[in-house]
């Protein structure tokens, strides 16, 4: 394989996972909601994209639809689930992810069932070389990553973000301060799911083929590793985490292809990630990039003013 294509390809995947990590960061990192079914919204995005394209919708509208459907689904799941204790929420969301996969697997009429579904590339008419096609995808994915990152940065560094952080610390105290906590949580779940759905759409569009086994709970676990390694509660941390985890995982796959190992690199990789995440939680629960206080220039000005 063309080494440049290999790296660019890896970067596309990094971008897709950055979106997932950002969305989990909004839910867990800022608001404290443990969504263990992230993959479900990712999967729904991917399938909605595939189906929408087959219906002849233009790709940008298909992407919007991915986000929309995923966020509606997010709202539907969150309404009953958010009233639960966090361990129950985790179990419910994990179960939800599995159910969605079972549905796509069992219902061949929706999108090919176990056989999967192919999706035509949106760059098909441009007759791009393989290399240029990856570049085009790269640009598309990172355009979305940048937009989402900026929106989330603005959101989390505003009074809105302050309420989210407060909910993470003590949601009853927040409701005593007159905020409708459920309302915020549902919103966060909807935004997070929309971003995950978007990510799924981009993933499907890049791979041009999806099948249910691409959406194992493993994907959710990977997103969690990225977030915890990178540093939850910081959008930059989510980006760093996605980059690191994807490259470590690629690295071990290269190792498998080029070096004869006495062990299966695939297994070693997961064992390593498992141990790594346990060690991080034990010794550096803040992750690589620590959380920063709300960025608030207007208050900074006051402080210097107030102290003078």
């Amino acid at each position: 394989m063309d080494p440049l294509v290999f790296i660019l390809d890896a970067l596309v995947f990094v971008g897709v996972f950055m979106l997932l990590a950002l969305s989990l960061n909004l839910e867990f990192g800022y608001t404290g909601l443990g969504n263990f079914g992230k993959v479900a919204f990712f999967m729904v995005g991917a399938y909605i994209y595939a189906i929408a394209i087959q219906f002849g919708l233009p790709f940008y509208l298909s992407l919007v639809l991915c986000a929309l459907v995923a966020s509606i689904l997010g709202a539907l799941v969150s309404l009953p689930a958010l009233r639960l204790r966090e361990d129950y929420l985790a179990i419910t969301t994990i179960a939800f992810g599995e159910i969605v996969r079972i549905i796509f697997k069992a219902e061949q009429s929706i999108a090919g069932g176990v056989w999967g579904i192919s999706i035509p590339s949106i760059f098909r008419d441009l007759n791009l070389s393989i290399r240029m096609s990856v570049v085009a995808n790269l640009l598309l994915v990172y355009f979305v990553v940048i937009v989402v990152f900026i929106v989330l940065q603005l959101l989390t560094n505003s009074p809105y973000g302050r309420v989210l952080r407060a909910i993470r610390e003590d949601d009853e105290a927040v409701s005593v301060l007159g905020k409708n906590v459920i309302y915020y949580k549902v919103q966060v779940f909807m935004i997070g799911s929309a971003v995950a759905g978007l990510s799924g759409g981009l993933y499907a569009q890049y791979l041009r083929f999806i099948e249910p086994n691409m959406f194992l709970p493993l994907v959710t676990f990977f997103v969690w590793i990225m977030l915890i390694l990178g540093g939850s509660g910081n959008n930059k941390g989510a980006l760093v985490g996605a980059l690191l985890v994807e490259f470590i995982s690629r690295g071990s796959r290269i190792l498998k292809d080029y070096v004869a190992l006495p062990v299966d690199a695939h297994n070693v990789q997961y064992i390593m990630f498992g141990v790594l995440i346990i060690l991080i939680i034990m010794y550096r629960p803040d992750g690589l990039v620590r959380e920063k206080p709300l960025k608030a220039d207007w208050i900074e000005r006051k402080i210097t003013h107030g102290n003078s």
Binding site: G32, L84, A90, I228, H266, I271, G274, M282
Partner: protein, 289 residues
């Protein structure tokens, strides 16, 4: 036909009871759901495979070896990982993530040793027929094991000093402490025996189906469903919940087939019951403590 479904339901219920007993007891004591229980079941299945591959192998050897082996791995994981995390009052979500991570370590460790391919115990079970009804020795063994577990555990929890201490800690840890109960010792004991039972469940599951590294994960959701349905830490609730889920699944499959739906939805039945329950009775069937 109904009789057959009843027998199948009892078999399913027995499996869930064995697999989830440790889950509910450790959830009650250590206050977090251990997702690695899926892999405890899988490990039991593979330890069983290890024994049964031996020409002299017999399921009656496989069960105790799976019990002890998985119990030891569980105790090891508690002492190395969870004891520290609980002591540092790590946030619940991080505890759950750690247990999922541990699950991956065990699952891929198993795959590294035994491989990913589908294997089987290659045991032939005698089938007894009563009219249309068929029962295998394996099923009898499973139901007997579950019954035995139920009786032994009932006696243990109500008669023995340690059993009562387990209930006491789950009910009121601070008070347990000031009555002089050494919590650590009892927690370790529970991790051992609970995981041991899950290991036995793995042997049964593998004997009835096949042996793959995803074996435990496939029944994790029903395990959680019965745990929550029965009320966390409540062994008697668990028995009832296992029966309910066993019957719901086996009768549900019949209706699924009748409705022309895929039997893949079997797992969705557990999920559906779980969701409905969480919404209406968040404290489980036994309810309001």
């Amino acid at each position: 036909m109904t009789e057959q479904i009843i027998i199948n339901s009892l078999v399913t219920a027995s499996l869930y009871l064995l697999a989830a007993t440790g889950l509910t007891l450790t959830f009650g004591l250590s206050k977090f759901p251990n997702f690695a229980y899926a892999e405890f079941v899988t490990l039991g299945a593979f330890l069983g495979l290890f024994v049964l591959r031996n020409p002299d192998g017999n399921i009656l050897f496989a069960l105790p070896i799976a019990f002890v082996g998985v119990g030891l791995i569980s105790v090891l994981s508690y002492s190395l990982v969870f004891k520290n995390l609980v002591a540092r009052s790590t946030n619940l979500i991080y505890l759950m993530i750690s247990s999922i991570a541990l699950g991956y370590v065990i699952r891929h460790g198993i795959a590294e040793i035994w491989g990913w391919r589908t294997q089987s115990y290659q045991q032939v079970w005698t089938i007894y027929r009563f009219g249309d009804l068929r029962i295998t020795t394996l099923w009898i063994l499973m139901i007997a094991a579950a019954l035995l577990t139920g009786i032994v555990l009932h006696l243990f929890l109500t008669r023995s000093r340690l059993g009562k201490a387990i209930r006491a800690i789950a009910n009121n840890p601070d008070l347990a402490s000031i009555t002089g109960i050494n919590k650590q010792k009892i927690i370790i004991l529970t991790w051992f025996f609970g995981a041991g039972l899950a290991g036995m469940a793995g042997v049964f599951r593998a004997a009835a189906t096949r042996v793959v590294p995803m074996l435990g994960w496939d029944i994790l959701l029903p395990m959680f469903a019965v745990t929550i349905l029965g009320g966390i830490g409540n062994f008697y609730g668990l028995i009832l919940a296992s029966l309910i889920l066993g019957f719901a699944e086996n009768f549900g499959v019949v209706y699924l087939l009748r409705a022309g739906l895929s039997t893949e939805y079997r797992m969705a039945i557990a999920f559906l019951i779980l969701i409905i329950l969480l919404i209406f009775r968040p404290k489980g069937l036994a309810g309001g403590k």
